[in-house]
Amino acid sequence: MNLHEYQAKEILRRFGVAIPPGEVATTPAQAEAIATKFGTAVMVKAQVHAGGRGKAGGVKFCKTPADAKEKAAAILGMKIKGLTVEKVLVTVAADIGSEAYVGIIVDRASKKPVFMVSAAGGIDIEEVAAKTPEKIRYHPVDVRYGLQTYEAMQLGFFLYSDVKLARAAAKVMQQLYAAFIASGCSLAEINPLVVTPQGEIIAVDGKMVIDDNELDRRPDIEALRDESSEEQSEVDARKHNLTFIKLEGNVGCVVNGAGLAMATMDLVKYYGGEPANFLDIGGSSNPEKVVNALRIITEDSNVKAILFNIFGGITRTDDVANGIVTATKANPLKVPLVIRLTGTNEELAMKILTDNGFTASKDMDEAVRHVVAIVKGEKAA
């Protein structure tokens, strides 16, 4: 789960990181009021779960409250990578002396949280990593001991030769690490970490991504979820324990298992079709899941045909068949349905489907070719 900048900053502040004051606005008038209260130049920043906000025009410097109102009006409602901006953070603009990058990610290769720090921070940090990798220091942390002071100091001195700054940076590293562990993060980032002309170290932007598997034991973090900033069909699917991602095509796909779901979409594309979605109904499916899956898919008016591809292992194919029958009785489908299922209880599933007027294939390749032919108008349903 992604946190907004303002939420990540709130957490970092609790762990002691110095961050310029800021408040969230949902209207231009609120943005103006906040800027008036601060009585100084502010930044107005789009709060949306996408990278590249600045480059998309979602981050603006504002000299006056009137300016903040105007810029907020432009940013609110703007679309960044398909997501509508519903909130802006209005924050005191910092005087920037230098910009560093500090990030932690759980690294697959070392199987540890790894610090990455660079004195060349800012929005072009990925380019720095690609072109001048020597400007980035990597440091894996053994979680059983945590980040020791000497390690934090090594990182601090990599950023600043001045001992006072190095010490202050080391403290930020330890605070960031503590926030990372306590919040169940898979990623936490301060970029830029700024040294002001007065020699203070402050975090001007912060990002946190929470491991979804942590949310059950961290209700305080789960409470930060902002459903208004997500695709509504994806929110709906999650509530019914389905994994759904909306795409642009016209072949609706219902599959069990993420790997098979991706392979099914790939095969649709291979035969010249375009998948309308990724949808994984998961392992132990009950008929109710299938009903919800069909409802969510058919709400997308682009969908011209629906493909079921079920390989029953834990999933019982008769449960899926019952779900299809129940769902289509309650809400008759307006688009053709192609069913492929094989595996656990397939004889029973085939009987349920045949008794209710459906046909089904046992072969994945054949079913995908069939559904693509239908949407291309080459074959009747």
Binding site: G51, V106, D107, R108, A109, K111, M265, L267, Y270
Partner: protein, 298 residues
């Protein structure tokens, strides 16, 4: 022959009395796996009843701890079906109790838990498979986990995969075409897992029965690229690979850390290119495995 498990594998099931644990224990015993013990704290002394492939009733003793189970039965492999909040502890308990292989089926284990578990297991010289994996099967000998037994057949192809149902799909297509397997291993899709592609490739390379390897990867991370580099340098046996997610849309990625650490977006195109550069046969569709593997077995 086979890798990691064979007919002598003696299994202890952690979470044997739970919903998933009891169902899959019955399936394993029905397949012929030697399930010698179960563990559920507080249910020590009970018996778990199942039916062998020959139709005999089997009574599996249940213990309070893995330590007790191993001491009493000589179990050398553990399989874990406990809920996610208890999985990390269950893995460590197994690794500390003297088994050589721990297979964790549980899905949804927090990744920070795995950063603690991994060094614990490694330091004890124990192999961990998973978490969030379907387990493994050596057809005709033993299955540990949830891979359906009837889709497999004995043969000479080693299978290793990051996914669950996609593995079943491809194994099923191989079996239908008359191509059997030595061992099918699901390594799981979590960011930190105990056993990776390279571990399995190295084991298949050493296994005299295995003549060719089918591997299924997915988008994300760089495991497949590292496996490709390993294949190029160390493998004499032919490998055929597939990458799921060729059409997955680029994510609305947050932050820069992911791209900085891997130097890669983990796209299907990058992985397929790495396969091709390493001389790995690339299956564009699941069904392509059949012809590509068959050609390499000749």
């Amino acid at each position: 022959m086979s890798i990691f498990i064979d007919k002598n594998t003696k299994v202890v099931v952690q979470g044997i009395t739970g919903r998933d644990g009891s169902f899959h224990t019955k399936q394993m015993i029905e397949y012929g796996t030697q399930v010698v013990a179960g563990v559920t704290p507080g249910k020590g002394g009970q018996k778990f009843e199942a039916v062998s492939p020959r139709g005999e009733a089997i009574m599996v003793p249940v213990f309070n701890t893995v330590e007790d189970a191993v001491k009493a039965t000589g179990a050398n492999t553990s399989v874990i079906y406990v809920p996610p909040p208890f999985a990390a502890d269950a893995i460590m308990e197994a690794a500390a109790s003297g088994v050589q292989l721990v297979v964790c089926i549980t899905e949804g284990v927090p990744v920070l838990d795995m950063t603690r578990v991994y060094p614990f297991v490694k330091e004890r010289g124990v192999r961990l498979l998973g978490a969030n994996c379907p387990g493994l099967i050596s057809p005709g000998q033993s299955k540990v986990g949830i891979i359906p037994g009837r889709i497999c057949a004995e043969g000479s192809v080693g299978v290793v995969s990051r996914s669950g149902t996609l593995t079943y799909e491809i194994v099923y297509q191989l079996t239908r075409a008359g191509i059997g397997q030595t061992t099918c291993v699901g390594i799981g899709g979590d960011p930190i897992n105990g056993t990776n592609f390279i571990d399995c490739l190295a084991a298949f390379e050493k296994d005299p029965q295995t003549k060719a390897i089918a591997m299924m990867g997915e988008i994300g991370g760089t495991d497949e690229q590292e496996a490709a580099a390993y294949i190029k340098q160390h493998m004499t046996k032919p490998v055929v690979g597939f990458i799921a997610g060729q059409t997955a849309p680029p994510g609305r990625r947050m932050g820069h850390a992911g791209a900085i650490i891997s130097g890669s977006a983990g796209t299907a195109a990058e992985k397929i290119e790495a396969f091709e550069a390493a001389g790995v046969g690339v299956a564009r569709r699941p069904i392509d495995f059949v012809d590509l593997i068959r050609a390499r077995l000749k």
